[in-house]
């Protein structure tokens, strides 16, 4: 909302600076976002006096002018306007001026004649669309004076951000009320001087108002004007509208805008000759099942209507979309001579629904949605009719055609000053509160000192409850003057939580991941359908966004992978080739049993790609592979005290190959805590990855559940020394290490404490499934109560050596 200070001062005698005003309004809850000089772009234009005006020797339309701009030298300016003439006062842009359109005025020659500036048209100055000729100024203007000063243009406009509750401040009047309140100044309404012309007839004989439902339209008033002459508005009105960013159109339309900005009351002017049947009816649209219903609004667009849209009808047809936009069939045009001026109040929710559905936000609908002062609307109508008569030469018919099925009902609330002070943490006096509330326009009955009766004014629709009055007292006193006190936070025993809350556990996972050398990524929860399709993820169960910002943000992630893979693409494009990333975030899947229709599952995603170590030296170089991602998973499970885990090759997976299921044995049975594997090369290609992408996707919620059920448990340290024996098994490459370990355990050698793989050697290069490889296992034997002797270990170990080839296709 832009507010002109000149305009404001017509309502309140504020003499301070614009900065003081901005500061005060901001601290009263009306945030001033900017202080603007609306005519800054033409601030350096000066008044010039055309001393001589001769025809250009080489042109049939250019003139060579001698212009006095107040300086010691008279400027020679070449001007092409047909209306330039000797003796005129004109606006001059001097050399070096930048015009509103961005053009720079330079010294130049036009057909051989030097020109030292430019005489400007109104359009060039942004003052109107007029570019028939140069702007001719009043003779009284002194040469050399700045144009903005000579014309008395507004130089100070504040941009105020109005919160949705303060509909009353969407006008000069509203800001003036707050200014008066803030500085203790009187508020003066403009004098009303409307002259009705009995010879023109009475509005009530021209039109009858008929309102179908007082809830939708509590009041509708109309004045009729005759003898209207559509023309440009007077300069003062146009300049004022321009100063606050409104485009002047014509006198009648400009008056409706002027009143809207000044008093906050939206108005509509119909061409009364185009209205039929002598009646204005306010009623909802009546689309029939088959053909529907539509109205062409004055912007020329055809709008389909619903039964929830409120319309203004004449005797035959809809003529306006109530409170939103007028109809093309009855709008004011250059030929208009008769005007019917509408001033009404509509139900906020109805207007909002229509304006939003049709994407037709307007200054009018914006105010109706938030609520307009029903009592004040009469003044707005009268002032508008008066201004229209003044600027268009119209005569105003006597009387107001009106219907008011739901007159304004006063609203009063209790006000307990003790409670006010308790809530605000202040000690406001009854005198202060009473002055404040009265200053806001409330009437206060304090006959009961503990519980007043406060009646709120009709322009403050937001003062609906006692607490709203508390806020007003706090706001006017200054919320910033409330002292700071630390509360004593009391808790009930019920609120004491287990450790590892959802939030706490996820933070613990993050801390682990950082320790494991991974960097945290955070991605949007939504991706594009394409991102999920690319990974061959199922279509069922996806949660799509009904009104996405774009196609690449139209579905919630069903898995953690899509975001991390997009990070691979971004980083590779930036030349970051070695990646170790993790993300903790939710995956979303449809679930009809949930009250939101969604099942949200926190996941821990881990991704490694490219060189294993960021250093070329001294680590041995290598590319991240399965053992890297598996190592992370094993480390995580150990960190959470989970296990033993099994790693099971999954025959098929939408985007991983190989894909390994990570299962953990728990009290509740064997649980699938995640999957890991290599992103299929074809899919990795789509992310421009030339090296393998290894990824693990772990169920963080399940990890939390399982981890909470475990605790560290102590075992005594061994007292006697171990005996170690290695065994090297030559086996087909297709035989998994796990199978050999299982076979050893099946043999049940006595006193075997542990078994570990210590070396893998594949003589024919990497295992391709055809060759053989050597696996060396170290078996540790130990007795709890005595030192083992070699002989008994040899006996047990011998069982392993002889037993393995019997159980498996292996040699020792």
């Amino acid at each position: 909302m832009h507010i002109s200070l000149q305009w404001l001062r017509e309502f309140v005698p504020f003499q301070g600076t614009v900065q003081e005003l901005a500061e005060r309004l901001t601290m009263q809850g009306l945030e001033v976002e900017a202080i603007i000089d609306p005519f800054e772009a033409i601030a350096s234009i000066v008044v010039g006096h055309v001393l001589e005006c001769a025809d250009h020797p080489d042109s049939d339309h250019l003139h060579v002018c001698s212009v006095d701009v107040g300086g010691p030298e008279v400027l020679q300016i070449v001007c092409g306007a047909p209306n330039v003439a000797k003796g005129q006062k004109v606006p001059v842009a001097l050399i070096g001026t930048t015009m509103p359109g961005g053009m720079q005025i330079k010294k130049g020659k036009l057909r051989g004649v030097a020109s030292h500036g430019m005489i400007c048209s109104e359009r060039e100055l942004g003052l109107s669309e007029d570019h028939e000729g140069i702007m001719v100024l009043p003779e009284t203007f002194a040469p050399g004076k700045l144009l903005v000063d000579a014309l008395g243009l507004e130089r100070e406009v504040i941009e105020v951000s109005i919160t949705p509750n303060r509909a009353d401040c969407l006008s000069v009047l509203g800001i003036a009320r707050e200014t008066a309140l803030g500085f203790g100044l009187p508020l003066t309404m403009p004098a009303l001087n409307l002259k009705e012309d009995a010879s023109a007839g009475d509005a009530n004989t021209v039109v009858r108002i008929d309102i179908a439902d007082g809830e939708l339209c509590p009041v509708y008033r109309a004045r009729a004007l005759t003898g209207v002459k559509i023309a440009k508005s007077p300069d003062w009105m146009r300049y004022r509208l321009i100063a606050i960013g409104q485009r002047p159109i014509s006198n009648i339309v400009d008056v409706t805008n002027y009143i809207l900005m000044e008093l906050g009351q939206p108005l509509h002017a119909f061409d009364n000759k185009l209205l039929k049947g002598g009646v204005i009816r306010v009623a909802p649209a009546t689309p029939d099942q088959q053909d529907g219903q539509s109205i062409t609004t004055l912007d020329g667009q055809e709008r389909k209507l619903l039964a929830s849209d409120l319309l203004i009808w004449d005797g035959e047809r809809p003529v306006a979309l109530a409170g939103v936009m007028g109809g093309a069939n009855s709008s004011v045009s250059d030929e208009t001579t008769e005007v019917l001026l509408e001033c009404a109040i509509f139900r906020p929710g109805t207007i909002r629904k229509t304006a939003r559905r049709l994407a037709l936000p307007s200054e009018a609908s914006y105010r109706f949605e938030r609520g307009v002062d029903q009592v004040g609307s009469l003044f707005a109508l009268e002032r508008a009719a008066q201004l229209m008569a003044e600027v268009s030469g119209a005569r105003v018919l006597t009387g107001i055609a009106m219907a008011e099925p739901k007159p304004w009902a006063e609203r009063s609330h209790g006000f307990r000053i003790d409670r006010c002070n308790a809530l605000l943490g202040l000690s406001l006096t009854p005198e202060f509160c009473k002055t404040t509330l009265t200053g806001l326009g409330c009437t206060v009955d304090d006959s009961n000192a503990a519980n007043w009766r406060v009646t709120s004014p009709p322009h403050r629709l937001d003062l609906e409850r006692e607490v709203d009055l508390f806020e007003e007292c706090g706001r006017v006193h200054g919320l910033d003057r409330i002292p700071a006190v630390l509360p004593r936070i009391s808790k009930s025993l019920d609120s004491v939580q287990m450790r590892d809350t959802e939030f706490g556990f996820l933070q613990r996972l993050k801390a682990w991941a950082v320790g494991a050398g991974l960097r945290e990524a955070i991605n949007y929860s939504f991706v594009g359908t394409d991102d999920l399709d690319r990974l061959n993820l199922p279509v069922e169960g996806r949660i799509t966004i009904a009104n996405p910002l774009s196609e690449d943000q139209n579905v919630l992630r069903t898995e953690i992978a899509p975001g991390l893979l997009n990070n691979v693409r971004h980083n590779l494009a930036q030349g970051n080739a070695s990646l170790r990333l993790f993300e903790v975030a939710k995956a979303f899947v449809e679930d009809t049993t949930s009250d939101t229709g969604a099942r949200e599952n926190s996941r821990l995603g881990m991704l490694v790609h490219g060189a294993r170590h960021s250093q070329e030296w001294p680590w041995e170089q290598g590319e991240a592979d399965y053992l890297d991602v598996k190592g992370l998973v094993e480390n995580l499970l150990a960190h959470l005290r989970l296990g033993p885990a099994s790693f099971i090759l999954e025959p098929a997976h939408p985007y991983l190959e190989p894909c390994v299921r990570v299962e953990v044995a728990a009290k509740s049975g064997v649980r699938l805590v995640g999957r890991m594997g290599r992103v299929q090369p074809k899919i990795a290609d789509a992310y421009h990855a030339r090296k393998d992408i290894w990824l693990a996707d772990m169920d963080a919620d399940l990890l939390r559940e399982l981890s909470r059920a475990t605790k560290p448990s102590f075992k005594s340290l061994p007292k006697f020394p171990p005996v170690r024996r290695d065994v090297t098994v030559i086996c087909p490459a297709t035989l998994h290490a796990e199978a050999i370990e299982a076979a050893v355990l099946e043999i049940k050698p006595k006193n075997l404490e542990s078994l570990a793989l210590v070396a893998v050697y594949a003589p024919e290069g990497p295992a391709d499934g055809k060759g053989e490889r050597n696996l060396t296992f170290r078996l540790t034997y130990r007795h709890a109560d005595r030192t083992l002797v070699d002989k008994e270990v040899d006996k047990e170990h011998g069982k392993v050596l002889s037993g393995l080839p019997q159980k498996l296709p292996v040699r020792i």
Binding site: G29, T163, P164, N165, G349, R352, K353, E369, L423, L424, V467, E471, R475, L479, D480, I482, P483, A484, L486, P487, I489, K491, S492, D494, S495, Q497, F503, Q507, K510, A513, V514, G515, G517, L518, R519, E520, I522, Y524, S525, F526, I545, A546, N547, L549, Q553, N567, N571, Q574, N576, R580, L581, A585, F588, D595, T596, G597, E600, H613, Q615, P618
Partner: protein
């Protein structure tokens, strides 16, 4: 005979003393030891004469032989110590402390997480407990229960991403106020950190960002308590001299409502840094950091709390905003690109 025996032994000592300097390695020195002190060495050879001596000479000769043996041993040992010291010196000369270490991979938290953890730490220290909840929400929890009925203009303040007519991506963490109050009786002191979503994307808005919501409900909670809590909070989060300013504002779920500004941490509230306008606060000296207010009685009614018996305050702040202020990050969009050159700055 005794005399020549004694002279011979003295000669051994002199010879050893002269030659030990030529032993340049432990190996040379060992050879020298064998030459003088070995079983077939020079001392042993000299000792051969001892057997032919008369009993009157034997004690003196024996004593001398022992002395010489000790002297030789001492000479060789001192040389050994010298050589060992030299070797240690040589070994150190080849030691290069400037070589790069074998560094384990470095991990790092995202700056949003860093800021979030810090905020949560401060607030839990003040006595709040952390709660979590769903990101896909019902319209009722996100809007209606928070005093934003359908077709209320306040809904314009938050452009919403919808899943269906009644289900949406939460636009703020405030639905957790509702969920918490529905599930327990007062007193309540919770904070709710999490992701929130808006249908808004430009240079200063991302469609997803992070918020932390705080809620305190008890008997006799006042706006002074709110101011105290937030003052303590921003002082711990930024610095001990941070000033707090309350500006009246509007949120549908609080009444009265306030925007909270803090004194600019870059220019210290001056509005200028070394004569230049401050880029953080745009010359105002204040930085808007959070919104807050006293819980609206309508919110209490919708969760079944008695607004006559209880009062409370609520506040919410954007985590990205805090991270930008604290770490000097200029561009909001960098948060979600996850460029490792960005991420590694927050190790």
């Amino acid at each position: 005979m005794l005399k020549s025996f004694l002279e011979g032994l003295d000669g051994l000592t002199l010879e050893c003393e002269a030659r030990r300097g030529q032993a340049c390695s432990l190996k040379d020195l060992e050879a020298l030891r064998v030459e003088f002190l070995g079983r077939k060495g020079k001392l042993a050879a000299g000792m051969g004469a001892l057997a032919q001596m008369g009993p009157e000479d034997k004690p003196a000769a024996g004593k001398k032989a022992n002395e010489v043996k000790n002297a030789l041993t001492a000479l060789l040992e001192s040389r050994q110590a010298e050589l060992e010291a030299e070797a240690a010196q040589d070994a150190l000369a080849g030691f290069d402390p400037s070589l790069p270490g074998r560094r384990p991979a470095a991990g790092s938290l995202h700056p949003v997480t860093l800021a979030m953890q810090e905020i949560c730490e401060v607030l839990t220290g003040l006595g709040f407990e952390v709660v979590a909840g769903p990101e896909v929400e019902n319209d009722w929890n996100n809007f209606e229960a928070l005093n934003m009925p359908p077709d209320h203009p306040a809904r314009d303040m938050q452009d919403t991403l919808y899943v269906s007519d009644t289900v949406l991506l939460r636009t703020h963490t405030s639905p957790l106020q509702v969920r918490t109050m529905l599930s327990r009786k007062p007193p309540v002191a919770v904070i709710a950190p999490g992701k929130v979503y808006r249908r808004d994307s430009d240079i200063t808005h991302t469609p997803m960002f992070h918020q932390i919501e705080g809620l305190l409900v008890d008997k006799n909670v006042s706006m002074a308590d709110l101011r105290g809590t937030l003052t303590a909070f921003v002082r711990q989060l930024f610095s001990a001299d941070t000033k707090v300013r309350f500006r009246p504002s509007f949120f549908p779920f609080t009444e009265p409502s306030a925007e909270v500004d803090i004194s600019c941490m870059l220019c210290g509230g001056e509005g200028h840094v070394a004569g230049e306008p401050c880029r953080v606060c745009k010359k105002t000296g204040w930085v808007e950091i959070l919104g807050c207010g006293m819980v609206d009685p309508n919110v209490f009614r919708s969760v079944g709390y008695d607004p006559e018996a209880y009062t409370g305050f609520a506040f919410g702040l954007g985590v990205e905003r805090v991270a930008m202020l604290k770490y000097g990050i200029g561009d909001l969009r960098m948060f979600f690109e996850n460029d490792v050159r960005f991420l590694e700055q927050f190790s």
